[in-house]
């Protein structure tokens, strides 16, 4: 009797515990474990950095291995995109008219060589990005057209004056490429950072072995108390998707921050089971089809329009999303993002409609009208990066063959490929855009006239388009701004068909569960190792 009562009491207690556990979620997630200090993170980078200078480069191959050596003035919150949070700026104020930004700079911040950071270093770095000296390349200069001046009135203050108010200036300033360098070094040699590393970031440079790895170790004098959690990191350069999946499966690396194709994701998850987790997100990246607007017959807008009409984007999206990370169909702004073109409007643009047969008939008619013969041969230049460029090239060749064209796919190393695109030595190129932030200023700058933006390889000049870009950038009313963006989009993609998107990308990041403090966002440029830690 006594035993039965004890058992009843135990059963009731067990039931109570079960109810409490169920109410508070799973046992593991009820109280997140505190960040653990220590350990080294190995991750995969699928390309090597062309130089070490973030100001001149546009690739994740620079961001992932080298960004941890630097701080920015302000940055995107790595766990809460698109919130902008302080980095080297402790705080800031914006004047009533939105034209003056005053930043208070942290004191006691040290460079890896032991010297103290001052506002002079911030000014010198931003000057290099926004007003680069002769012979120094700056990839994002055009994005800061609104900046009038930068000054450092005191060692702890930086003031940026704008020519016109920009609603998202702070976000632009938070570009993950805007690394803060040392003014003395820039003064001596503004190109020193192309081949050297020296910043204030959470990790010091240890070694770079070309073709193998890049290594960083914790900077013990880092200004942020308790950070970074990691003792160090090792970026492994592995380009083959199959080898990347193998490295992840067998624990050689814990993550590849850029993203995997669905097949690789499934392979990794199947192999690792509950040791892996997958984070997915929309992606601020896309493949662009770039006809050479100065070369015959692509100087004829009917031919360019025919090329875009021949592409079955909706069918391609369904198919290619199974074998690559390409997927969403979209216009100039990211599908699913705050400025995305609604589908009803998108399908009115040439090449974005749902009726591919009608579109291809129209394409054939335009080609005939432009005097392009059946079986016309031209080259499609592409880079030799397997994912997603080569599948994109194979897909495009097939699409254009279906309207009677005969494209030849030419695959080159990235260096010669970019040199050819920059020199106009191509018929049609396969390019990409990847950005760090959803904003028309950032996404549309790629399409302003080639003489205003050297990153526009399509080789056209359209002052009306440049005007629309400037107009939307200065517009403070969101609805009106959206209208201008739509106008811009219609002109670029459809009416003049200067260059056009193939498909946007979908970010799929499988990683080991023991990697903590990391959240996938829509940009693979925003990875920040400062908050990342390893649970075991």
């Amino acid at each position: 009797m006594h035993v039965r009562r004890r058992l009843q009491q135990l059963g009731a207690a067990a039931l109570l515990v079960a109810v409490l556990v169920a109410a508070s979620g799973t046992v593991g997630s009820s109280a997140p474990a505190p960040p653990r200090r220590g350990g080294s993170l190995s991750f995969i980078v699928s390309a090597e950095p062309p130089s070490f200078d973030g100001h001149r480069e546009t690739t994740f191959a620079v961001i992932h291995p080298i960004r941890p050596h630097y701080n920015l003035l302000v940055k995107f919150d790595p766990l809460n995109y698109p919130k902008v949070v302080p980095d080297l700026a402790e705080s800031w104020t914006v004047s009533q008219d939105g034209l003056t930004y005053t930043f208070r700079i942290r004191s006691g911040v040290r460079f890896h060589d032991g010297s103290l950071l001052t506002s002079r270093d911030i000014k010198a770095s931003l000057d290099k990005i926004i007003f680069p000296p002769q012979g120094v390349a700056s990839a994002r200069q055009a994005m800061y057209e609104m900046v009038e001046s930068i000054s450092a009135p005191s060692p702890n203050t930086v003031v940026i004056r704008l020519k016109w108010p920009s609603a998202t200036f702070l976000e632009k300033l938070a570009s993950p490429f805007n690394w803060i360098y040392k003014a003395d070094i820039l003064e001596r040699d503004p190109r020193w950072y192309e081949r050297n590393v020296m910043g204030t970031g959470p990790f010091r440079f240890k070694e770079y072995v070309r073709g193998s790895h890049w290594e960083g170790v914790r900077f013990e004098n880092y200004w942020k108390p308790g950070r970074p959690y990691l003792d160090g990191y090792r970026a492994l350069f592995i380009s083959s998707p199959a080898a990347q999946a193998a490295a992840l499966k067998f624990g050689q690396a814990l993550v590849e921050f850029r993203g995997f194709a669905p097949a690789q994701r499934d392979e990794v998850v199947q192999f690792l089971g509950d040791r892996a987790t997958v984070q997915e997100s929309g992606w601020l990246c896309n493949i662009l089809v770039v006809p050479n607007n100065q070369r015959k017959p692509f100087d004829d807008f009917r031919v360019r329009r025919a090329l875009t009409l021949a592409i079955d984007r909706w069918g391609g999206s369904r198919a290619l999303s199974q074998i690559t990370f390409m997927g969403p169909v979209g216009g100039v702004m990211r599908p699913g993002g705050p400025f995305a073109t609604p589908e009803a409007e998108l399908t009115k643009l040439a090449g974005f409609g749902r009726d591919i047969n009608a579109a291809r008939q129209e394409a054939r008619r335009l080609l005939r009208e432009a005097g392009v013969p059946e079986g016309f041969e031209f080259t499609v230049k592409n880079r030799n990066i397997p994912m997603p460029y080569i599948p994109a090239g194979i897909f495009l060749v097939d699409q254009w063959r279906q309207v009677g064209l005969n494209p030849r796919h030419v695959i080159q190393e990235t260096g010669p490929y970019l040199a050819d695109l920059r020199a106009g030595n191509y018929d049609v190129g396969i390019d990409f855009t990847c950005d760090f932030f959803d904003d028309p200023d950032v996404q549309l700058v790629k399409f302003v006239s080639s003489d205003r933006n050297p990153l526009n390889y399509a080789r056209y000049t359209d002052r009306l388009l440049d005007g629309l870009f400037r107009q939307q950038s200065r517009e403070r009313d969101l609805q009106r701004r959206l209208q201008i963006v739509r106008q811009f989009e219609r002109r670029v993609l459809s009416d003049r068909a200067y260059q056009y998107h193939l498909l946007w990308w979908q970010r799929i990041v499988p990683h080991w569960k023991k990697l903590q403090g990391y959240r996938v966002g829509p940009s693979h440029y925003l990875e920040d190792l400062e908050e990342v830690w390893l649970s075991e």
Partner: protein, 298 residues
């Protein structure tokens, strides 16, 4: 008597005693059954390559997104790849790439090597010394490394691939042919030609080269297999022909590796095609060497 010596020989040799072609072939087939099988496979391969547009069931470049990763079936005998392309059609058209690159590179490489080898043997002295040291350097590199270096210099693409493979073969051919040419260098007919005032190049081309044809032919068959393997290897490494051109090595790379568990037929059939072709050339080459090399016949 004005008859030509060979006409005289025809009369002197009793017709009945000469082995008939059919009989000779049967004897060869009995002695080298593998070579005959290999030869048969190669004949089929050449026919497939020549007749590709008529016998391939589908357009090798046409994507079919409703048939992605289809396993072998009555519709697609060898299945489809990640773009829904028919693998059999791509294999048949890929034979063109393999044979084009294989034949052109082997003939070009072996011929250039043979010419240099005979010239080196004929001139001797400093010319021979310089050529041999250069050859030693080139031969010290593995074939694939040399070919990769050439492609890196010349760039990818079918034409450059042919040149790269041919240049990699040439020093090897040069070594083999030179050693044969050294044996005929002091034969009486070469001495006689020199005595009647024939120039060096006339002696090399008319009198020496035809007499080193046996090793040249054996080497050619060996090179054919190697060239096809090299083309496949370079394409696999992304240094050969570009997608979507049907090429066996290319078919083995990229998606075939990524999806090997999901669609193993994407890798199995191109691999089988390469293996069988190289094997065929090798067994045929071995048999030819046995037949043409008088020392082995003894």
């Amino acid at each position: 008597m004005t008859g030509r010596p060979d006409a005289l020989a025809t009369r002197v040799w009793p017709t009945a005693a000469r082995p008939r072609t059919g009989g000779r072939f049967m004897r060869f087939a009995r002695r080298y059954p593998l070579a005959v099988a290999g030869g048969g496979f190669l004949v089929l391969l050449v026919l497939a390559a020549v007749l590709a547009p008529w016998i391939a069931p589908s357009d090798p470049l046409a994507n079919d997104y409703l048939s992605m990763f289809s396993p072998p079936s009555s519709r697609h005998w060898l299945g489809t790849d990640s773009f829904g392309r028919d693998i059999l059609s791509r294999l048949i058209f890929g034979a063109r790439t393999a044979l084009l690159v294989g034949l052109s590179a082997s003939v070009a490489g072996a011929t250039v090597g043979a010419l240099v080898g005979v010239a080196s043997a004929y001139f001797g002295g400093t010319v021979d010394l310089v050529i041999q040291r250069i050859t030693d350097i080139l031969v010290s590199f593995p074939l694939i490394v040399l070919a990769m270096a050439m492609v890196a210099i010349l760039g990818s693409g079918t034409a450059n691939l042919v040149v790269a493979i041919a240049l990699s073969f040439a020093p090897r051919a040069e070594l083999v042919v030179r050693s044969s040419a050294l044996q005929v260098r002091h034969t009486t007919y070469v001495e006689a030609a020199r005595a009647i005032g024939a120039g060096p190049w006339r002696i090399i081309l008319r009198h020496m080269l035809p007499n080193v044809l046996a090793p040249y032919l054996v080497m050619l068959t060996a090179f054919l297999g190697q060239a096809i393997l090299l083309e496949a290897s370079l394409s696999f490494l992304g240094l050969g022909v570009a997608e979507p051109t049907p090429a066996w090595g290319l078919m083995l790379s990229g998606a075939a590796v990524d999806f090997v568990q999901k669609a193993p037929w994407m890798a199995v059939f191109p691999g089988l095609a390469i293996t069988l072709t190289v094997l065929s050339f090798n067994v045929l080459g071995d048999a030819l060497r046995d037949v043409l090399d008088p020392r082995l016949r003894v």
